[in-house]
Amino acid sequence: MSKTIPQQPINPPRVPQVSLLTVTSNSPVARQVYQMTLKGDGVKAMVEPGQFVHMKCGSTVYPLLRRPLSICDVDKEKQELTIIYRVEGEGTRYLSRLQAGDTVDVLGPLGRGFPLKNRIEGERVLIVGGGVGVPPLYYLSKCLTKRGVEVTHILGFNSREDSFLTSAFEQLGETYATSMDGSLGHKGMVTDMVERWAPDDWQAVYACGPLPMLKAVEQYWSGCPQTEVYLSLEQRMGCGVGACLACVCHTPDSATSYKKVCTDGPVFKLGEVML
């Protein structure tokens, strides 16, 4: 594993599976935010941080489409998957009402996650997350620290009431929280905090969160090619498997060239797609 072949495909795509997982717990962890664990055979394929699952919320035509939710943690031994989700509409409201023992139809793992293979022991990497962009970064950080990588986290929330996982992240590495109202950590945006370090203080940066945050990250590191920067994008999805072209984004190559967030992403290397 060396840093000399960074241009190869991030991860080979895997065949996603449809499986019925059983809820083992589901409870609120912040304002309108829930943490759910799901158990089942299908979990064993979920090995890559940054991938997501596409969940059917109920067994009827309403809600109709699946909902994409990031893999937040995986316990391979127990075959348990954790997701953390904010209640936004019908789909996540349905999920929030599920109880231990209920089953959910889950399609996944989907997409390409955060590449780990270039990471080596002793490297310093920065993880930047905002709001419900934070969950996939937890599993990422766990995987990185397991490899002996030194991870620093900057996590932004609207306020303390909206925050979650901060102490879990603290156990993995240095963790800075920010909040818009100052009720938690630094008052302001994660990007204020980011600028306390020079771009090239980090061998790699991993970010997931609202678009303005990703744009700020892109800008801060755009002149710093020696740092590998990965951004995880969100886009409204149809199929989740690359067939419907709902989730595309432009790439810099040409006017018609594109990438699909669901199968080429959600994680992209900085510059690979246009934000």
Partner: protein, 314 residues
């Protein structure tokens, strides 16, 4: 009970014979690559590929989809890799499967349609063309071909002149009198009809106070539109003698038979693929047991039974 017959699901779609009547709908299955990871595509009756245009198109800005009660809106905007890539990469790749391809084609001008039709119809695994004259998300030089019977007929005739395979015309439901359009294209030589494409719809976000789709409006598909599709097929099938590929909200084997009763001779499944990637093979598997349950020998016997008055009312 009915005698088991190996070909109970076989249907004749004009001059094309399909081993079963179930195909994924255009635009909901790409060119088959993604779903081929879930199952071998050979089980499908046919595959309707994503609308192909002469040049590659990126389509509309995102967001391109939104959810509605029992339905979804899309405004993909005919994104596709263009004729050349379809001829060189997609169709040859699909040829590995024993499945006829229905090539959905679109364009901004009649010439463009004719160009694409001429070339794509010569590909061996292309069994038929499907003229997408009804995509609500693309304005074709100001007019939508699908809403004016005369323009639709004109386009059909032009494509028929060059196509070496049967031509199906995909009708728009966003018209006052769909029978008029159907009759006009039949007259102009269409070998069959596909119906329905999506209904025009919109959702507005209370927070942003703007339409959710970047394109503003989009096409409504899914179970919500099924009754509209059934009604239109029921009407049109009584006024034309060419076969109809029915679609709009199909989710189950029961839905498939409802389309047959209305007047369809085959069906396409769109949105449901997004919900369950295995939906097409699942439905195909469920058809025979359902025919048994209803005491029907051959699925084709059901076409138009909803209006053929010789059937005994139960």
């Amino acid at each position: 009970m009915t005698v088991k017959n190996k070909n109970r699901l076989e249907v004749q779609l004009g001059s094309i014979r399909l081993k079963n009547p179930v195909m994924p709908a255009s635009g909901c299955f790409g060119f088959g690559r993604e779903y081929s990871k879930f199952y071998a595509l050979d089980c499908l009756g046919a595959i309707a590929i994503k609308a192909t245009t002469k040049e590659p198109r990126f389509g509309n800005p995102t967001p391109r989809v939104a959810e509605t009660p029992a339905g979804m809106l899309n405004a993909i905007g005919l994104q596709n890799p263009g004729l050349e890539a379809v001829l060189e990469q997609e169709l040859p790749w699909l040829a590995q499967f024993d499945v006829p391809v229905i090539a959905n084609i679109a364009g901004s001008t009649i010439d463009e349609y004719v160009d694409v039709a001429e070339k794509i119809s010569t590909v061996p695994n292309v069994a038929a063309l499907e003229l997408n004259i009804s995509c609500p998300n693309v304005k074709c030089g100001g007019i939508t071909f699908g809403t004016d019977p005369q323009i639709a007929a004109h386009l059909t005739a032009a494509v028929k002149q060059v196509s070496t395979v049967p031509v199906f015309v995909k009708l728009s439901p966003n018209v006052g009198d769909i029978v008029a359009v159907a009759k006009a294209v039949e007259q102009a030589g269409a070998d069959g009809l596909s119906m329905i494409n999506t209904l025009l719809g919109m959702r507005i976000d209370l927070k942003t106070k703007r339409p959710i789709l970047a394109n503003g409006s989009g096409g409504l598909s899914g179970p919500a539109i099924k009754p509209v599709a059934i009604r239109m097929i029921y009407e049109v099938s009584q006024h034309v003698s060419i076969p109809i590929i029915g679609m709009g909200g199909i989710q189950s084997a029961e839905d498939v038979l409802e389309f047959f009763l209305a007047g369809a001779s085959a069906v396409a499944i769109g949105t449901a693929n997004f919900v369950d990637p295995y939906i097409c093979p699942k439905i195909i598997d469920e058809l025979e047991p359902l025919l048994d349950k209803l005491g029907v020998e051959h699925i084709q016997d059901l076409t138009g039974m909803g209006w053929k008055h010789d059937n005994p009312q139960a």
